[in-house]
Every structure is written in C-alpha cells, then in structure tokens.
Symmetry: C3
Subunit: 146 residues, 3 copies
C-alpha cells in the first residue's frame, strides 16, 4: 500500500469571514501525486476555520451563507466567557466542520458539477507569517491511493 | 487492494424539505459488492441536499428537525442576493454536511441501534428526469474493501 | 492489508449538554494498536450525541458553544411532535455531526496545536449501565493502518 501523502497548503484570507475556493488546488495536488483512486481528506488545523463543499458558480451564495451565519451567530453575546472574542468563530467551525472527505476516481475528485471545496475563514484576516496563528494552512491527506 | 466501487443511487423526493432514509439501500449495496470490511462514503453531488445519520424509529424526529431548521433558516431574508431563491437550502446543506463516513465490519454497516442514514432534500421536490438538477443521486464509494 | 480494528470506548457524562475531550483516549488507542499511518474514524452510535474537533485550551469555549447552541435550539418548541422531549438533542447532533475523520501519521493523530476531539453529549447525563441508552460509547475504527 502506498503511504499517505500529507500536503500543507498555505492560504491567505482578507476578511473576518470569508469562503475561499480551493478545489483547483486540491485537484492539482491529486494530479501531481498521481493518485488514481482513493480519498482526499481535506482538513484545517485551526479551531476557527472550516471546510465545506458548496455551490461554485454564483458568488452570491457565499455572501448569503456568511451573512445568514453571522445573523444566527453574532460576534457578541452577553453570556460569552471566552475572552478572545471569537466564540462565534468556534461555533461556526463546529457546525460547518473542520474537514471534508472527497472520493478520488481515475485521478479526479468526485464532485457534482456545481460543487466546490471551500476553506471557510471565521476569524480572519490571517495569512502567511501574520495573523493570530501565524499562518492558515490546510492539510490534504489521501488514504489508500491506489 | 481492491479498487473503490462507486455506486450511484437515484432518489426521488416529494417536498421542498424531506428526509429520506437510505440505510437499507446502502447496506444492500455493501452486500451485493461483498465488502467485508472498509468504509462507506455516502455523499451527495448536489449543493442543496445533505447526508445525516439520525434517529430511524419515530418519524416525528424528522418532522421536528426539518421544522426547527426552517425556523432558524427561513427561505427568505431581505439581504439574500442569490437570485435562485434557495440560499436557505445551501446553508442547511453546509451545516448538515454533504457526506457521512460509515465503517463496514463483517459485511455490515457499523451503526447504532437507532441510527439510520438519511438523504436530506432541502430544495425539492426533485426526481429522476425532472427537477432543477435533473435527478437526485447519491454516490457511495467504499475505501479499502478487504 | 491489516483489518480495521474497531474499538469501543465507554464514556460517562454528567449534564444534559456536555463536551468531553477524548483526544488522549484516541491517541492512546492508536499507540496501543501500533497504527503508524491511516485514518481514525471517531464516531458515536447514538442519535443525541456528536463528535467535534475544537479548541482544547480554554474551557470557556465549551461553555460558550453549548450555551449559544442552546439559545439557538432550545429544548422546547410549541410545534415539536416527538414525545421524548429531546428533539433539540437530535438537531444539535445532526448539525455537529456524528463522526470525525482524523489522519494518523507516524503514529500520531494529525491535529492542530489547539485542536482536541470532543464527545458532545446533548441528552445526558448518561453513563455506563444507566441513562436512556444504557451507556455512552464511542467507536474508533482505523482504515488502512499500514
């Protein structure tokens, strides 16, 4: 069995809440590593950023998703105790989830026509060499590459 | 290693919001393909339908889940920009998630006694040959079948 | 290929809503079974308890997460039909998700510095030999351990 390649992708975000599409990045890595068949586990090592698979066509969908999430889970609540002021970011992350599992078949990510993989920033902006955690990174490991 | 069988299941929904249990379908496919051990990745290629694992006994649970979700995320908000009128469906999908990973052991899905796998329709009805996307389908790939 | 070890972990909770960190339990199991590389599928066989990966440092994050979730999804709604009085627990479970997939590399769970794996109780307290379902258990299976 081939070992699991684990690849870290460095990303930069510009807003507190932002959805950044990474489908092409992940597909390129699958091709570079010549994975014909297996699973891509796309995950975030942060606790205030998530991964989702959603509409890749109309950017208004991202706007609506982030705005409605913000209305449901605003930055401040009188009862929040965590003093970093990002309890909302932690909850959004828990709800969206910190990883996605995508099937790889014949060298291609198995996604629907309108599906894209998104890195969801909920406590940005952060980027390479700055920001709360120094850098925003994504790990993409593939299990049982053929 | 055995390759990953990817199987597409065609489903038909009757309402805008609907939970459709597919546990038996998935279990039957595991048996047909004689998978003794591995993972079932149950996923949806749509951006307005999701997969969840939840109570399989009392149908009132489905009613309550869908109703409460609708109350939290109604179809319309004054600030929605996406002009297809289904931003709520996209957000519900992002929150519930578009896939579930289920362990297979001795030819059986490893689920709790009260757990069922559900296809969650959030922008129906749609069915085979009609509906916004033509058809509602589910892909079930199994990694490392023994 | 090595088979998938499936290990059940018995947990005890003390409140209706509680986040219980299980990272060390899972890491210990990975070491005991000498898994060098693969995936840990951490999942719950219940329909009112979930798994999430979130902040492992400040306990106030857990407080804020559970409190805000409770505000969004209170125990009672006039329209709930399920007569066990735990429709909120089912919805929280569907939103957080009943499993997490964690990459294992060189014998270690691949997690960010601040990430911990949590069992989320949403209908406790329950424990070994008592509670609604008799016991709260977690199954941790690893696919393709090298």
């Amino acid at each position: 069995m081939r070992n699991l390649p684990i690849i870290t992708l460095l990303l930069q975000t510009k807003s507190r809440n932002q959805m950044l599409e990474i489908t092409d990045h992940v597909q390129r890595l699958v091709a570079q590593h010549q994975i014909q068949s297996g699973l891509a586990i796309v995950c975030v090592p942060h606790t205030t950023a998530a991964i989702t698979i959603n509409e890749n066509a109309d950017p208004d969908v991202k706007h609506d998703l982030l705005k409605k999430l913000d209305q449901l889970i605003p930055k401040s609540e009188t009862y929040y105790q965590h003093d970093e002021g990002n309890s909302d970011s932690h909850l959004k992350t828990a709800l969206i989830g910190n990883s996605a599992t995508v099937i790889i078949e014949r060298g291609q990510l198995v996604l629907g026509r309108w599906q894209g993989i998104y890195f969801c920033e909920f406590d940005g902006p952060r980027g390479i060499g700055k920001g709360r955690f120094g850098k925003a990174e994504k790990r993409g490991g593939k299990s049982n590459g053929d």
